[in-house]
Amino acid sequence: MASCTSSIPSGEREVSECSSATGGAGKELKVNIEFMGGAEMMFDNQKKLNVTLPPAECKWTIRSLLAYMKVHCAKGGGLERFFTGDSVTPGILCVINDQDWELLDTLNYELEPNDNIIFISTLHGG
């Protein structure tokens, strides 16, 4: 499977390139996102989000999902409490289909349709 992640340094650029590309799979990708432990604060206090990702040439990964969330889902200030660089802030855990993302190549994990992704903040005050 082709991966577009290693050659592109910035997450945000990657989203624009990915979503502007045509062809490839050419299908939308739906994933379910859940927040716990105060991580929901940066997302309008929504505990659950159903995100439909636009068709992209390359496979969606957690890295490109985070970049997409930064632009399209996050509300208000305090973004740096959730996002750090192209990843989540240390102390925020990511769980993909009930499995620790450290077992799944973390940012490089390639999303599948209907994946359940949970972000849990273990930081004091979310």
Binding site: G38, M41, G78, P90, D105, N108
Partner: protein, 454 residues
């Protein structure tokens, strides 16, 4: 070199760069070697669901068992906040009581939830929402559960403790709420607000335990919490009380001990425990929730250590294991015989000559009063080492800094809180003094117990 091995043997000073370690991908469980692994708890230790649940339970039971402090049928207060860790603690106790093996937990727990909405400045609607979520969270645990609002600390009465399941609405004492709100609004820094909140919560927990005839309190502080607390307490001037504040057992109140049975579990393990068991949690914002990322010294320390831990996964356990080796020396000349009126810790202000404490005192006096301070106060403190003389000076300096609100001396960490508050904190004085005197009486009772004729 070091007796504690299981966490430290993976002490590596090289960066793990979490996520780059391909050996973990689709690994099988390290423990049972059959099920697919679900979570990495320690460096390169991946567990399946069942083994993680057993691991957390084992760490909790071993910690309590090792201490041999809890006796059968003893009434124990369990402090719950709605966090991931407190949901885990309640579940571990709930399951432990239902155990049919000889390892069954034998004590009788009482859950207490402290609603600190008043300090945080939450609206009544927000507080009601949190209260109802807590009710739902604690409904199925089958344990008796009490609720006490933080504003009760102003004038604690026994009936401030309410059965959570029999209450449908909150009866809010607006007068106390506005007092507590004023006290916290009065403090300039988030650092002091967070610090004071911890002290008042502990105070209220001890009073609740005394009211409910509990001789111990269990808190859900994890090893991660305690490692962060250890470092941030040093930063905020509470180094003298470290063994009490981060050790397994806090003995500052002799009739009610505070124990931390989740000290050998990480926050990550606790988060996965909650997830895998589908437990309910309630998120309650903190002072830092609405502020910028590094708004307090405690938050700054946390962010720094958690970030470091990502790169060097033995950071937290190394700090924690170091903290475990600390102990208070009650005979140290730095401690007086009495305790701090605000936090009940031993007074760390009877400094010996050329101590850091005197240095800060002199430097603050000099910057306030100029050269005159050295000739009168500074030298005075250094030359008169009799406790009475020191006492007089110290109480007068407390008085100055807190506008004459506290008459008994407070410890260095609490002085920093008082120095920031203008005068609202005197609202606490009466209740704190009552509490303080009660603890002193208990201490005295214990000391003379051997001489009493039954």
């Amino acid at each position: 070199m070091c007796s504690v091995s299981d966490d430290l043997d993976c002490l590596s000073l090289t960066s793990s760069g979490s996520g780059t370690d391909k050996s973990l991908f689709h690994a099988t469980c390290k423990k049972c070697r059959s099920e697919p692994a679900k979570v990495v708890v320690q460096l390169k230790e991946a567990f399946c669901k069942n083994c993680l649940l057993l691991y957390v339970n084992h760490r909790f039971r071993a910690c309590l068992g090792k201490s041999k402090l809890i006796k059968p049928k003893e009434k124990i207060l369990v402090a719950v906040s709605g966090s991931l860790a407190s949901a885990t603690l309640v579940d571990l106790i709930h399951c432990g009581l239902q155990d049919t093996t000889p390892k069954r937990l034998m004590f009788s727990p009482i859950i207490v939830f402290i609603d600190d909405g008043a300090a945080l400045g939450l609206s009544n609607e927000q507080r009601l929402k949190i209260f109802q979520e807590m009710r739902i969270m604690l409904k199925n645990c089958g344990l008796s559960t009490f609720y006490v609002p933080l504003e009760s600390v102003i004038n604690f009465e026994h009936n401030d403790l309410k059965e959570i399941q029999s209450e449908t609405t909150l009866s809010i004492n607006e007068c106390s709420v506005s007092k507590v709100r004023k006290i916290f609004e009065d403090l300039k820094s988030v650092t002091s607000k967070e610090d004071l909140l911890i002290k008042l919560r502990n105070n209220l927990l001890i009073q609740s335990a005394l009211t409910l005839n509990c001789s111990k309190i269990l808190t859900a502080e994890t090893g991660t919490d305690l490692a962060v607390k250890l470092m941030s307490n040093i930063v905020i001037g509470r180094g003298a009380h470290l063994p009490l504040d981060v050790g397994f057992c806090d003995t500052r109140c002799t009739s009610v001990l505070l124990l931390r049975p989740l000290q050998d579990v990480s926050k990550k393990a606790v988060a996965f425990y909650v997830l895998m068991k589908g437990l309910k949690t309630v998120f309650i914002p903190a002072f830092s929730s609405i502020e910028r990322k590094n708004c307090s010294l405690q938050k700054l320390t946390e962010n720094f250590l958690v970030g470091l831990h990502c790169e060097f996964p033995s950071t937290m356990s190394t700090i924690f294991r170091t903290g475990e080796k600390l102990s208070l020396n009650p005979l140290s000349p730095n401690f007086g015989t009495s305790s701090c009126e605000l936090c009940q810790g031993p007074l760390d202000i009877y400094a010996t000559e050329s101590s850091a404490y005197l240095a800060t005192q002199i430097s603050s006096a000099v910057s306030k009063y100029g050269k005159a301070a050295i000739n009168s106060d500074g030298i005075h403190v250094m030359n008169h080492s009799s406790e009475r003389a020191k006492n007089r000076i110290l109480s007068s300096s407390c008085k100055n800094e807190a506008n004459g609100t506290f008459f008994n001396p407070v410890c260095y960490g609490c002085q920093l809180i008082l120095a920031e508050s203008n005068n609202q904190i005197h609202l606490l004085q009466n209740s704190l003094r009552k509490h303080h005197n009660q603890i002193l009486r208990d201490k005295m009772k214990e000391e003379i117990a051997d001489f009493l004729i039954e």
